[in-house]
């Protein structure tokens, strides 16, 4: 058994695909019709055969209150690894991405938290290189 998928609940799959590919830089992997929605996944170009991120519709009535409560307390839904948090922060901020937490050293890890415009906060984290 292995983990091959992770998912984020998004309020709009079209908007989400644009943000996760054009802004964050992921690539579309799978796009299949699935009823009213799509089975839509993206992967990192650094690991195209790696874990796929499912951009999952958040239409279930329980999801909205759940997402809003997490966002209100600043809790990221998931976390992505980057080699340089400060550089990613600069790149994304220049692209208009809003951060709730700028790059901050948290013990051995540096993290930052941004708004994915689809109703989630996402953390980026880098481990020390040495």
């Amino acid at each position: 058994m292995r983990i091959n998928l992770a998912s984020v609940f998004v309020d709009d799959q079209v908007k989400a695909l644009a943000f996760y590919t054009e802004v964050l830089g992921f690539e579309k992997k799978t796009d299949l019709p699935a009823g009213e929605a799509r089975w839509l996944t993206v992967v990192s170009p650094e690991d195209p055969d790696g874990v796929e991120l499912v951009l999952e519709p958040d239409g279930h009535p329980a999801v909205g209150p759940f997402k809003r409560a997490l966002v209100a307390d600043g809790i990221p839904y998931t976390s992505f690894a980057v080699s340089d948090v400060a550089a990613e922060h600069a790149r994304l901020a220049a692209a208009g991405v809003a951060f709730t937490q700028p790059p901050t050293a948290m013990g051995p890890v540096t993290t930052a938290v941004f708004d994915d415009t689809c109703g989630n906060l996402i953390q980026i984290a880098s481990l020390p290189t040495d």
Binding site: D73, I75, M106, G107
Partner: protein, 96 residues
């Protein structure tokens, strides 16, 4: 105010907010755990923040969809002016 800062975890919260205003509950929790090795739950941190807010040391504001915490230094300044400074510098006239 003195009761609010009598607790070591709350003093750390004040120090971390002094470093950066406008932090979410999540950021404060991560700072406490990763920088200070404190074994605290989110619920415990939220309760500590409630005590600091009741003492006027922390203000919570809604910005868009986020709840952000900000340090208010006025109670600290008042404590300095009214209690610490007259003790530390007894020859200085009390500021009115």
């Amino acid at each position: 105010m003195f009761k609010a800062i009598s607790d070591p975890t709350r003093r750390v919260l004040v120090e971390e907010l002094a470093e950066r205003d406008g932090q979410t509950l999540f950021e404060l929790c991560v700072r406490l755990i990763s920088r200070h090795g404190l074994d605290v739950s989110r619920q415990a941190v939220a309760k500590h923040l409630d005590v600091l807010e009741a003492a006027g040391l922390v203000h919570v504001r809604r910005e868009g969809r986020y709840r952000l915490h900000t340090l208010d230094r006025a109670p600290l300044r008042a404590a300095w002016d009214e209690w610490f400074r007259p003790l530390v510098q007894p020859d200085d006239p009390i500021k009115e």
